[in-house]
């Protein structure tokens, strides 16, 4: 097994007596993509905040590899009209001011042409990529992505998840990702942790999709999504929506 980057052990959090997390355990290894899924209000973002050290758990602990570098992509990034800020400058806010590294990080997410653009002029998908570039700038061992496709249209979502997988392949970092859209997440994930205040079930996406806890949480409709996914894809769509055939695709007999 690859190097263990992060282990949360028996983490519980309550806010004024209301239980947000109950005895949650979780591991992320180098090169592994772990997806946290669960309904709204299930405590996914709370768990992320504990993992990042922003919130002290009531009980339990989070252990990380000594010297672990974390790249964080928050769910929301409110950029006011009143603040003039180019994409390149936004990356420099991280404390890394080396222009070569900033240009490379922007290129890694396919936004090198946007370096001089004002953040508020970017589309939802472009802004998410620029925020991801800021997380990459720190050459992280672990990427923590809270709803990485927030505000991105469906075609762009698959592109963005594909990009995250490619970045994992290139850098070998671990990825801990929060999501509530099941369909695409499952395809790009090594391990799914399905949670609703506590961990309901965990494992490989296909195995999880058959577990009764998963079906109880998301209903039969989710299982149907997964069934469609299991038919496989013989093509994907690029950023412009054009069909791009996969190298060794099976014949398409479900949704593309």
């Amino acid at each position: 097994m690859a190097e263990l980057l992060l282990a949360a052990d028996g983490v519980s959090v309550d806010f004024d007596g209301r239980v947000a997390l109950s005895n949650v355990s979780l591991t992320v290894h180098r090169g592994e993509i772990v997806s946290l899924i669960g309904p709204n209000g299930a405590g996914k973002t709370t768990l992320v905040r504990v993992v990042l050290g922003l919130l002290q758990p009531s009980t339990g602990r989070v252990a990380t590899l000594p010297g672990l570098r974390i790249g964080y992509m928050p769910q929301f990034m409110p950029i006011d009209e009143i603040l003039p800020m180019t994409a390149a400058r936004f990356l420099a806010l991280s404390g890394v001011s080396d222009e070569v590294r900033i240009a490379k990080a922007l290129a890694d997410v396919g936004t090198d042409h946007l370096a001089g653009a004002q953040l508020r002029d970017l589309s939802g998908g472009e802004l998410r990529r620029v925020i991801l570039a800021r997380a990459l700038l720190r050459e992280p061992d672990l990427l923590v992505l809270d709803e990485p496709v927030q505000g991105v249209d469906v075609g762009g979502q698959a592109e963005l998840y594909g990009l995250i997988t490619r970045l994992r392949d290139q850098t070998g970092c671990g990825v801990l990702m929060v999501s509530h859209d099941l369909h695409i997440v499952m395809a790009e994930t090594d391990k799914v942790v399905c949670m609703n205040h506590h961990v309901c079930c965990t494992g490989h996406p296909e195995a999880v999709s058959r577990m009764p806890e998963y079906l109880a949480l998301f209903g039969p409709a989710a299982a149907q999504h997964l069934a469609l996914y299991a038919h496989g894809h013989d093509h994907r769509h690029d950023q412009h929506g054009d069909v791009v055939p996969l190298k060794s695709g099976r014949p398409m007999d479900g949704h593309g």
Binding site: L54, L83, P84, T86
Partner: protein
């Protein structure tokens, strides 16, 4: 030109130099009401200073700094929305200050002078304090520039990236308290927020980077001080509101021209 006129311009330009960059951060961080609360609390400092027979500058600085620290501590605790909390502190300290002043029956107080600025009030010692404090405020602001900007854009991301968010925030709040003491005599307490936010909002139209916006805000603030004080001397109007009217005119002119260009 009379000495008091030169002192008034020197004091006003010092206040504008510090208010420009600080005001840019205030509008980026949506902290206008925070500035307002500190400015209102300063009247309590004026009252306490007069009660013990001191020039109000230092008492104002101490009270504003104490209120800044109190507010940053209270904001951590939940239960009150920030604007409610700021309203309570602003109105509460203003009322306390006015009641304390009412008890000082032996002291003749030019209350309007402290509220709206007084060109005759600035002493040579004030000029030294104003410019010393302005240079200090700008120097500290430059030291925390990047972490503060990162904190105002997204505090949790900044914290994950290693910024001591709480410390940076408190430092900035203390700088605003310092500005209240700087602007006390020439601008007056009530128009301080206007001197912070109007030049910064005006500068936005010309700026593509945060630094340019801060610099242009200081320039627009300085022009507002020059024209405002000139108007104040010619028409015998209170200096603070006159400076704000000049800043407002610049803001409206830029807005109107900017809209026409588009």
């Amino acid at each position: 030109m009379d000495d008091f006129v030169l002192r008034a311009f020197a004091a006003g330009l010092g206040a504008a130099a510090a208010a420009g960059p600080l005001g840019a951060f205030v509008v980026w961080g949506r902290m206008a009401y925070f500035g307002e609360a500190l400015a209102h609390s300063a009247i309590l400092g004026v009252a306490l200073g007069l009660a013990v027979g001191l020039d109000p500058t230092w008492p104002v600085l101490i009270v504003a700094a104490a209120v800044a620290l109190l507010l940053s501590a209270l904001q951590e605790s939940r239960g009150l929305a920030t604007d409610t909390l700021l309203g309570i502190v602003a109105q509460g300290t203003l009322a306390l200050g006015l009641v304390v002043l009412a008890f000082l029956r032996n002291v003749r107080v030019d209350l309007l002078g402290y509220l709206f600025g007084d060109v005759l009030a600035v002493t040579p010692e004030d000029i030294v304090f104003i410019w010393g404090a302005a240079v200090l405020a700008i120097a500290v602001l430059m030291r925390i520039w990047r972490p503060l900007l990162s904190t105002l854009v997204h505090a949790e991301l900044a914290q994950v990236e290693g910024v001591a968010v709480a410390r940076v925030r408190v430092t900035f709040m203390l700088l605003i308290a310092l500005l209240v003491a700087i602007a006390l005599k020439i601008v007056g307490l009530l128009p301080i927020t206007a001197l912070l936010i109007i030049p910064a909002a005006t500068a936005r139209a010309f700026a593509r980077t945060p630094e340019r916006m801060a610099l242009i805000a200081a320039g627009i603030g300085a022009l507002s001080v020059v024209f405002g004080l000139w108007g104040s001397l010619v028409w015998d109007t209170p200096s603070g509101p006159s400076i704000v009217v000049a800043a407002l005119a610049a803001f409206l002119a830029v807005r109107i021209m900017f809209v026409r260009w588009r």
